[in-house]
Subunit: 381 residues, 2 copies
């Protein structure tokens, strides 16, 4: 890992001279933010951002690698974000596409408390197979109706049940009655099968209710929760991960303001694969290829890679492709993405006449996708 | 105000049929998020989003007005944001450009505690003149150096001194020594002139340090603070505004992921002019035309208009154009934007050999820009 933080940007510029001027402007904007001559030689030498590399990248864009001193970024998440994507997020034609963090920053952030190994342990799927998660919804259903749906999913063998991110505290299913009813239903149904099923309620809501909601979830026996870091604030998730409650965190990307192919913002793999993970996400939900929004396969693979890659002392985060995944295609997604994947299926199952049967086939596909060197085959753990 | 929340989007589509399909998809995605037939007739009728209007807007785009039921959005800030710009923020070609909120939502949000009248009262500029604010920076300077700079600005007559948004808790000027030193310097220098000068320290940082930082600022005598809502989370600012500390809030747009001319995200006037204001910003900092990033004048005017327009029971927020404003142009900006404006000047003053003289001329321009019906001229208050 580098001594300085290295951020790679794509710059939309018509000429190399323009790209160079823009890269130098960013280096100044994101650090000392005063015109040349104001800060003094010592501060300029130590703290001004540096343009390390600048190359033509593809048609109409340049690739610029900038580096920033640890004395500017510190090791706190928000200041790192402020430096790599602060005021430049208000410029057109500047996109953050890469991030190489110093060891001190990586080490200071919580990362996944459980990650892939911890989640597999929780659901007793340690043989190395992929996991299956489902969503209960829609808004408008009562706690009892949502609990009944959850019970069917437990009976069908899924590993994790989550609330839809649109279920918050509406009158039709307020947070406390919903979480209590669903958690108890999942626990009761789970006791009748071989492996535990987890329920991750959506705790997203006013920040001053978060601690209470985490407490309700923990008291109801939940081993994890879902939250929406880009809605609540990435550092809000970090504070939960750094906190005392040993809850797994499933991060939902609503309001993340990212998609492949844009000229601005943060590339999805950097935001979801690296920043969400470092901020404590055990599970990173993203928009799968072939679903409702059509993110390309290469983006999905890039998110998977960053969620799982070696990163200091941190556990790998579990990538969870979602967003209109067809239940019938589960097997092919496991094959494509490998066993360190949690498929998240929602609407596609809810349209089935035989919900339990259709869900069971997804679970069977996950079991079939376990690596060949599994416990039962080679006697190893 | 409407009974349902109305959100206006620009959709990049090549044909009306495609735009209609996309609008209907958004209406479903942002509310019940299940395929047709799953939710049941009652839920679909009550809770599914509705496409109210759909028209060609301009070349390659359509304007769609969608409405959402209060039973889905509730009145909490984050769920409102989740519905109007949740998963659609992950789609390309969908931009939120308008927001018309039901009375219940507007009334439930804190809005500016002080707003334009409260800020004028604080700095004893009630005659109706525009205000002048400046930034102390850069990172790397010590608390003593920053305090000395602040003292010069007080002597020059500015109304508000803020920390640069890049000053957080770095070793060169850690939060507590910096805020204490600058606040005391501003107070001491302020006592020697006719009107008070305010110091708004940047409290942006780890969310779990926020309450302590607000306490340090209040204990140091600060009447307000600066924070970065898009970095910390918009609801974090809302929670401060709803809290018990009577501090004015200056909202800085770093990491806001918005700019004019994009095909995605939230239009700057909606995010900064309306949402920041409703979330409690007394001052809304934005990127001025003609500055470092070149936001067009029409966007700046639109932000001004939304920050100041009648909005339920709420005070107007003070728009603060910033980002490379040339001190010599202060008068023309006051003329253009009117007296309900706080000009925020940073680097342009720091380059002056005679900093106090240059700053004093900006203050004189603000005094000269007071409306003709001022206290001294017509005897009215």
């Amino acid at each position: 890992m580098p001594d300085r933080l290295r951020a790679t940007y794509h710059l939309r510029c018509s000429a190399a001279s323009e790209a160079e001027a823009l890269a130098l402007a960013i280096a100044r904007e994101q650090t000392i933010e005063v015109p040349p001559g104001v800060a003094g030689d010592d501060i300029e030498a130590r703290l001004l951002g540096r343009v390390e590399e600048l190359d033509p990248a593809f048609d109409g864009a340049f690739r610029a690698v900038l580096s920033y001193a640890l004395d500017v970024t510190g090791t706190e998440l928000l200041q790192v974000l402020n430096v790599v994507n602060g005021n430049v997020s208000l410029m057109n034609g500047v996109r953050l596409v890469g991030l190489d963090l110093p060891h001190a920053v990586v080490d200071a952030l919580p990362g996944p408390r459980f990650g892939i190994p911890g989640l597999r342990h929780m659901v007793e799927a340690e043989g190395g197979r992929p996991l299956v998660s489902v969503a209960i919804k829609p808004v408008g259903r009562s706690p009892g109706e949502l609990a009944a749906l959850a019970t069917s999913f437990v009976e069908a063998g899924v590993d994790v049940i989550k609330d839809d991110h649109g279920l918050v505290d509406q009158a039709s299913a307020p947070f406390i009655p919903r979480v209590t009813a669903v958690a108890h239903a999942v626990e009761a149904a789970s006791a009748k099968r071989e492996r535990p099923c987890l329920y991750f309620p959506n705790v997203t809501g006013p920040v001053d209710t978060l601690d209470e909601r985490l407490g309700v979830a923990a008291a109801a026996g939940c081993r994890g929760v879902m939250l929406c870091p880009s809605l609540m604030g990435l550092d809000v998730m970090r504070s939960v991960a750094d906190g005392s409650r040993a809850l797994a965190l499933m991060a939902h990307p609503t309001h993340a303001q990212t998609a492949p192919g844009r000229h601005e913002g943060i590339a999805p793999e950097v935001l979801l694969g690296t920043l969400y993970r470092l901020a404590g996400a055990d599970v990173v939900v993203y928009v799968n290829a072939g679903g409702r929004f059509a993110w390309p396969l290469e983006t999905c693979r890039a998110i998977n890679a960053r969620a799982r890659e070696p990163l200091g002392r941190h556990n790998a985060a579990m990538p969870a492709p979602a967003g209109g995944v067809d239940a019938a295609e589960a097997g092919s997604w496991f094959e494509r993405y490998g066993p360190d994947t949690m498929l998240l299926i929602g609407g596609s199952l809810l349209t089935q006449t035989d919900l339990v049967g259709a869900t069971r086939r997804v679970v069977e596909a996950a079991v079939a996708a376990a690596p060949h060197r599994s416990t039962s085959e080679d006697g190893l753990r």
